[in-house]
Each structure stands twice: as structure tokens, then as C-alpha cells.
Amino acid sequence: MATVISNERLTDGVYQLRVAGDYGGEMGQFYMLRAWGAYPLLSRPLSIHQVHEDGIEFLYHVVGEGTELLAGLVPGEPLSLEGPFGRGFPQVDGKVALVGGGIGIAPLFYCAKQLPGCDIYLGFSREPFRTEAFRPFAAELTVNVGGLVLDSVDFSAYDHVFVCGPLPMLKAAQLKGFAAVEAGSRARVHLSLENRMACGIGACLVCSVSCRDGQRKACTDGPVFLSEEVVFHD
């Protein structure tokens, strides 16, 4: 059992949870969290926001019963963590852009800390959060509120573009990546998917992702996929 160090409300419905314990992981990997008994039934997959010597941090948006229970946690309360799971963002060389939308900025902070000098693009539909925390690690920080942050990103200027955000943003990033490659860019676009999960370890197949080479698992083959591998359905 892990213990809550802090659970701070950043803005409407967005919380930053810090948990004590020896937890690690790579950029883009996730943990399965639960802070309740048998109900709700499933644990909640949350990506690593950052790792400290004495613990680990998650950023989450309250969207249902599970995250609502997480939001009620106070320092000292126990919760269980399983992980780290999944295949995250790759260790890369070259010029990198991090593009996050809403709560999708969560895993990108851990990336920013490991990839100093990258350009960071953060988009929000309403009040932004955590943007100042990103600034020290960014060569350039672009924050967009109410618009489409992807419009600010010139994919051809980068070797790698890491994207995490809502589904429409991932689809748009994929199209933008295709267009960039067609125009001669060598940009590789990496998408972090947010599918519903049950087991989190690759056994139950509820998080299946349609890929060019067949069905893959978001929890173990992903959550990060090369954009050209993924086949989005309408």
C-alpha cells in the first residue's frame, strides 16, 4: 500500500496527486491506481507526471466515479499502485516537440524533464494549469487557450513530435504528421492513447487498438504508438 503525500486541486476538476514510495518508470508509462474496495470495480490507469526520490506524481481530471474518489483523498490515506506498465515514449535524439491537450499534458512533464531543450506546446479549452512548471525545461513554451494548439506546431521543424490529448487532437496530429512526411519532413509522430482499460497488463483485451498490422493492446504495446501504426475509426 502506498500513502498520499498531497492531493492538490489545480483548477476546476484537475488534481495533482503525490504518493510516497519507491516508484519509478519511463516517460509515458502508467500505473493502475485504486483507493477503494470492490467498487468501483476497476482500477484507474494514470500516466506518470513525474518521479521524485520519495515518491511519484500523477495529474488527473475528474471524469467519473473513480477519479472523484481520488479527488477526495487526503494526505496520509492509503491507496494501491500497480505498475509501471506499458510501452511509453522512446528515448530519442534530435529536436523534439511535446504537444499536450488538456489533461494530456500529464505524461509530457516527465518527458520535458528528461528532454531539456525541447519545444513545448500546451493547449487548454478553459483555464490552463501547470504551464509554469514546464517553462524551465522548454526552449520555447507555447500556451493556447480556447483554440487548437496543434496549429502552432510546424512538424517539419522536428525529428520527433510527442502528442497526448483528446482523440480529435490525436487524429489531427496523425494527419498533420502524414502531410509533413509527404512534404519531405523526417518528423516521427508518437501518440499516447487513452483507451479504457480493465487489467492493465495485456490479458483482457478491452483496450485493443486497431493498427495496420492488426489488433494491438494499448496497455502493453502502447499506450504510445507511432502515429502511422494506428488506424482511427470514426
Binding site: L41, G200, S208
Partner: protein, 310 residues
């Protein structure tokens, strides 16, 4: 010394805790978290003759004390299973059960024959990877076959008879709670030579997204599992156990050793554990340990003392 073991058609179960099909993959993933050879058995992910991509759209939705799933039998196909997973199954010291699904009668039979042939071939080199076939005539999430065979006894009879003829391996038939008469279905299986029946598969259910004015699931309906279904499962296991002489493998919403004893008292030979694996990734080892302690506390020396006493 507490006796946890039992036998079904000559297959040894070291304890009654068997992992249910569809929740446990082929065991490898959980095998990284604990030694799955501590289990009574493993029923692998449901297989069909040809690979299946499964259903599109959302595949899981939580409900009060349960969950709906609409995976739709995504699986690598029998040939890929035999080639890629059986070598791992050879190394496991637990009852290994292949869950066989199908679309048509011919698919079921061809699939069953492939599994039997592979088992025969392995046996000639002194190896075994599969101890039993669990025939799935009851998946609610595939349009053809599956539940269509699982609802009407006469439709199921054809499949059970054909697969029984095709295999020598011990054969269990997995029954649907959506069957018109589940006890009659079980009796038919017994008459057709099945070695056991397992029940219940998920209960067909539904969830509507009011704002979008549509079902949450592309496949419209989905299968309900978890603690919510346990009382129904227990009642059906009891009814079936009263009707047939062949062993009953009981399942539905088990999350504790106490639940296991309920199913044994209702008449189950062994039980299967499914959805609980998602709540507790070490469910198998937790339950085996819990069960021994509970039996000691309840002064039960063998499951035979309490099996079917209700």
C-alpha cells in the same frame, strides 16, 4: 492436513481456484506477478478457428458492482495458439484448459480436431500442454454462433455432439445464463457425453449513453460480470448440480474464499474466477491462500465434506 484437490474426468485440480476464460490471457501476463502454477487451473482466452479482431468501439463499462464487456472474442486463432502459447503451457503445473469458441458448427469441429491432433502429437514426445477443452457455446458478444447456440438446447446439442465426437480430451461445456433452460441444457450435455459443464458465462446486458442517444457499445448489448451476477450464478449452479451427475465448474462474481465455499456448497466441483483478476492482479494467489485459512477456521478438512450440501 486440508484437502483442496479434486479430479474432473481424470484431470487433477490441486485446488478449486481456476482462472476464467477471457480475463487471464494465456497466463503469461499474470505469470510475471505470481507463480500461476499455484492455481488449480487456467482457462485460456477463448479461441476460434481463425483469428478474430473483436468488436469495435468501447469494450468495457462499469456498472453497479460489476462490468459490461464487449470484447467480441478477439483472439489469435487456434493455429497461433498452438504454435506460440503451448510451449509455455507445457511448463505450467496446473490444469490447462483451452476455451473453444466458434462461428459455425464446422468451425467448432475443425478447431477441436486441431487441438486434439496437437495434443496427440505432443503426447508421443511425452509432453502435454492441454488437459481439457471448455466448449464455449455461450459468448453473448458475437453475432453468429456463440450465444445463438447457447440459448436453444436443440441448437447446442448439435455442437456438443459434433465436438464430443471429434475429441478424446476431457470436454467441459460452458453454459450461458441466457439459455432458455440452463438445467435442461446441462442435462443435454451430460447425455451427449460431456465430462463437465461450466457456468455461468456473462449475462447479456446493456448501457445507454443518454446524451448521445445510443448504446455505449457498437455491438448494442454486452456481457455483465462481477459481484453483481453472483447470486444469479450461485442459483444456477445449484439448479444444474441438482440435475446432472457430471461435475459442475461454478463461476460468477467470485471475489473471496467465502464466495468459493458458497459455490462448492451449491454443488460446484471447482470454481472459476474472472473479473476479480482486474480488481486484484494477484487474485489467484490471494484466493488460494485465503481459502486454506478459511477452511481451517471453519474446520473443513476437505471440500468433499461440504460439496452440494444445500
Amino acid at each position: 492436513m486440508i484437502k483442496l484437490s479434486s479430479e474432473i474426468a481424470g484431470v487433477h485440480f490441486k485446488n478449486p481456484v481456476v482462472m476464467a476464460s477471457g480475463t487471464f490471457g494465456f497466463g503469461r501476463e499474470y505469470g510475471k506477478l505470481y507463480d500461476v502454477s499455484c492455481l488449480g487451473g487456467i482457462s485460456g482466452k477463448g479461441l476460434t478457428l481463425n483469428p478474430k479482431a473483436g468488436n469495435s468501439g468501447i469494450r468495457v463499462y462499469e456498472t453497479a458492482s460489476g462490468m459490461l464487456n464487449s470484447v467480441g472474442l478477439e483472439n489469435p486463432g487456434i493455429a497461433a495458439f498452438l504454435e506460440k502459447e503451448c510451449a509455455y503451457w507445457e511448463t505450467l503445473d496446473t490444469a490447462r484448459i483451452v476455451n473453444l469458441g466458434g462461428g459455425t458448427l464446422e468451425d467448432y469441429v475443425l478447431g477441436a480436431e486441431m487441438i486434439q491432433e496437437d495434443a496427440d502429437k505432443r503426447l508421443r514426445t511425452g509432453k502435454t500442454a492441454v488437459d481439457m477443452i471448455e466448449l464455449n457455446i455461450s459468448c453473448p458478444n458475437v453475432k453468429e454462433g456463440g450465444i445463438a447456440f447457447g440459448v436453444k438446447t436443440c441448437a447446442a446439442q448439435e455442437v456438443v455432439r459434433a465436438v464430443r465426437k471429434a475429441v478424446k480430451l476431457p470436454l467441459a461445456v460452458k453454459l450461458s445464463p441466457n439459455a432458455e433452460d440452463i438445467a435442461e441444457m446441462a442435462q443435454m450435455c451430460q447425455e451427449e457425453g460431456a465430462d463437465a459443464v461450466s457456468l455461468i458465462n456473462t449475462i447479456s446486458g446493456m448501457k445507454i449513453d443518454v446524451r448521445r442517444r445510443r448504446s455505449v457499445f457498437d455491438n448494442l448489448y454486452a456481457g455483465l460480470s462481477g459481484p453483481a451476477v453472483k447470486p444469479v450464478a450461485l442459483r444456477m449452479v445449484h439448479q444444474v448440480a441438482k440435475r446432472v451427475k457430471i461435475p459442475v465448474i461454478g463461476m460468477g462474481g467470485i471475489t473471496s474464499a467465502l464466495d468459493i465455499l458458497e459455490f462448492i456448497m451449491a454443488g460446484a466441483a471447482v470454481v472459476q474466477v474472472g473479473t476479480y483478476n482486474f480488481l486484484n492482479l494477484r487474485a489467484g494467489s490471494t484466493l488460494v491462500e485465503e481459502l486454506e485459512h478459511l477452511m481451517e477456521a471453519e474446520n473443513i478438512r476437505s471440500l468433499d465434506e461440504i460439496r452440494g450440501i444445500i
